[in-house]
Symmetry: C2
Subunit: 389 residues, 2 copies
């Protein structure tokens, strides 16, 4: 019931004004009329219409201009204002999916206040429009056994403080049972958080559905928080890192996260049962950790990795990545996926060519689409089917 | 790395412009200079200063007026604009705590885009300023064994779809061990979600610390989602409910949530080991479920419950609540907490007097403060110490 201070003041005024309520006379109960007074209906947004369109609404009485910025389409679309100061637009996506969006009110990006589904991020606040199709897709919750996502904390010795991560365990996971599970370490993108693969990537729902249909192996998925810097700064610590913090992150994964998972979960602990995957900056970290530690990870999946130019070549040459021969011998899967409209596609094409030249067996998946979580959900669905088989 | 479309366009432009990068010539690697170009530093907000003050910053170049609305103080405070269009204010709270806040840009409330800590809610988007004191408090993460919070899904037969909830299990909880735990069912306020007691109430951190210090019994805490209406509407279902949905919610707790928990967790299943607590609308639901089912709950804790006038008297008279005699006989704890500045204080005072008159032993905790989560964290800390003893 803690809404805005405005609402509380309205409530307080109403209650003070109404002596029957304030003084407890007459046993007055809540009526629909009183409810409507006490809790004025907010605007409904987004509203999913039966024809597949979506109506977005934004209360901004004083604004000069409100636009919808939505990954259903490129460019912003103007919203129109009604007499109550509610701005509205109805749009129809090409296909059902989960689309990040925000309102742009006089030039400022604003999450939809009436939508509880938020894109976890350090640098922006988008909302999520969940446009469902006639038939449920792999990312829609279906009536199948559900795994769970647990928020846990481990102590990082290298950083000196406790850190959060999310862990997906499939339905029926038994911490003391005979079944030991393989583990996928799954990394978010720059400015994302350890929650983004769960809340935006829907990895738990996708896995529940894939497992229920027999399309993926049962596995545990670990989603660490790749960016320790907010907490490092809050504590005033000085921890040297390379440009993108890849060195600290790889150490974090191999020396802190893996031991935590392997001592707290009923898992298989050989490289054949360990995968690493990540999006964007997480894709860069995946290549660094995966290609850098072929004794630890036998499955490496990079989704639109943030590599620049032919940096991969340099990384092989200077020993950041293991020699190609090692990878040839050890990797069970090297999977690269980047959309044709992704601003990082050039480097992915370069990496694909380089690996082909060097004779490292790999998959290069190059669908349409850009640097988006719509694509990411596609990537994780496809790769999950190939892991640990 | 998926930031805003603006940033992606900037990146794309930079990459296109830079032929060395785009064409992969010369093995160019990321340098700090290139990093600064590619990822321009966003504004830092909030910034926690060493003197205990906090600086909030908001980039809104086109705005006429930007204010800080923060539960550190009442009323909004004007922010000032620098030459780069960044609005700023530095404030010092009376005491360290976790304060909800937002920016008001030309009249519209906006969450802080640069702060990853969000107040989960259906009707507004606040951010959280975590102002820490010299010594860690009960709501600060300390180096103690940490429990976990799991996001789970159960099938609701009455509603016909799968529903989410959060479950806190203390460190060392063993699903197959000899130790069976008592259970607290903990309900959020109106427009809050099943995440709010976790993300804003910090109940897991508070419990970790209380348990580590031997101040609270080990227990499982279940945080259901009291509002099924968004999903009911998305599915176009028609499910009759009373004015505040209390009837459907109580049925949900007693017939759906409790059986799910008791068949999936290693818990004690007698009323002596079951507690219910809730804030605001959740306090109303707590009274309805708790006073309505003394055979199921022997601990009832209402935090600023949303009862109006002397509704409680009516509820006893019309049988929504069990007879006082039943409660006298069965309840181990009846705890009511409401701040003196809470807009619901009148009804709490009335309930306190009524229970005193009727001879039902109870605690009425009436500190300062209003209808806030600063108070809520205080309430849960105090009551957790008294549960199951």
């Amino acid at each position: 019931m803690k809404r805005t201070i405005t609402v509380i003041l309205t409530l307080a005024a109403l209650i003070t004004a109404n002596s029957a309520l304030a003084q407890g006379q007459g046993g007055q109960r809540l009526t629909p009329q009183l409810m409507a007074q006490l809790f004025p209906q907010g605007v409904k947004s987004p509203e999913y219409n039966s024809d597949g369109s979506v109506t977005f609404r934004c209360q901004a009485a004083d604004a000069q201009k409100v636009e919808l910025e939505c990954q259903m389409f490129s460019g912003n679309r103007p919203m129109t204002r009604n007499e109550r100061g509610v701005w509205e637009i109805t749009v129809t996506p090409d296909q059902p999916d989960i689309y990040p969006y925000c309102f742009v009110i006089d030039g400022t990006q604003v999450a939809d206040p009436n939508n509880m589904f938020i894109f976890p991020n350090e640098g922006f606040k988008y909302s999520l429009a969940d446009v469902r199709g006639e038939a449920p897709s792999m990312q829609d919750m279906q009536q199948v056994p559900h795994g769970k996502v647990s928020y846990r904390y481990y102590h990082s010795k290298q950083l000196g403080f406790d850190r959060p991560l999310c862990v997906y365990t499939p339905a029926g996971y038994d911490p003391a049972g005979k079944e030991k599970l393989p583990v996928l370490y799954l990394i978010h993108g720059m400015t994302d958080t350890y929650e983004t693969w769960f809340k935006v990537g829907r990895v738990n729902i996708i896995m529940d559905n894939l497992i229920a249909q027999g399309l993926a192996k049962r596995m545990i998925i670990v989603m660490p928080y790749a960016n320790p810097n907010p907490e490092i700064q809050a504590r005033g610590l000085n921890i040297p890192q390379d440009i993108m913090g890849t060195d600290v992150f790889c150490k974090e994964i191999t020396e802190e996260v893996i031991p935590f998972i392997e001592s707290n979960y009923n898992v298989l602990t050989k490289a054949d049962n360990r995968a690493i995957a990540g999006f964007s900056l997480g894709g860069r970290q995946t290549l660094a950790c995966g290609f850098g530690n072929p004794d630890k990870f036998h499955y490496v999946c990079a989704y639109a990795p943030a590599i620049f130019g032919n940096e991969y070549e340099t990384n092989f040459q200077n020993g950041t990545y293991a020699p190609i021969k090692d990878l040839q011998k050890k990797l069970k899967l090297m999977w690269l996926g980047t959309g044709s409209d992704d601003f990082l596609i050039q480097a992915s094409r370069g990496l694909d060519s380089y690996l082909t030249e060097q004779g490292l067996k790999h998959t290069f998946y190059n669908p349409g689409g850009g640097h988006t979580w719509m694509n990411c959900r596609d990537y994780i669905e496809l790769t999950a089917k190939e892991l640990f088989k």
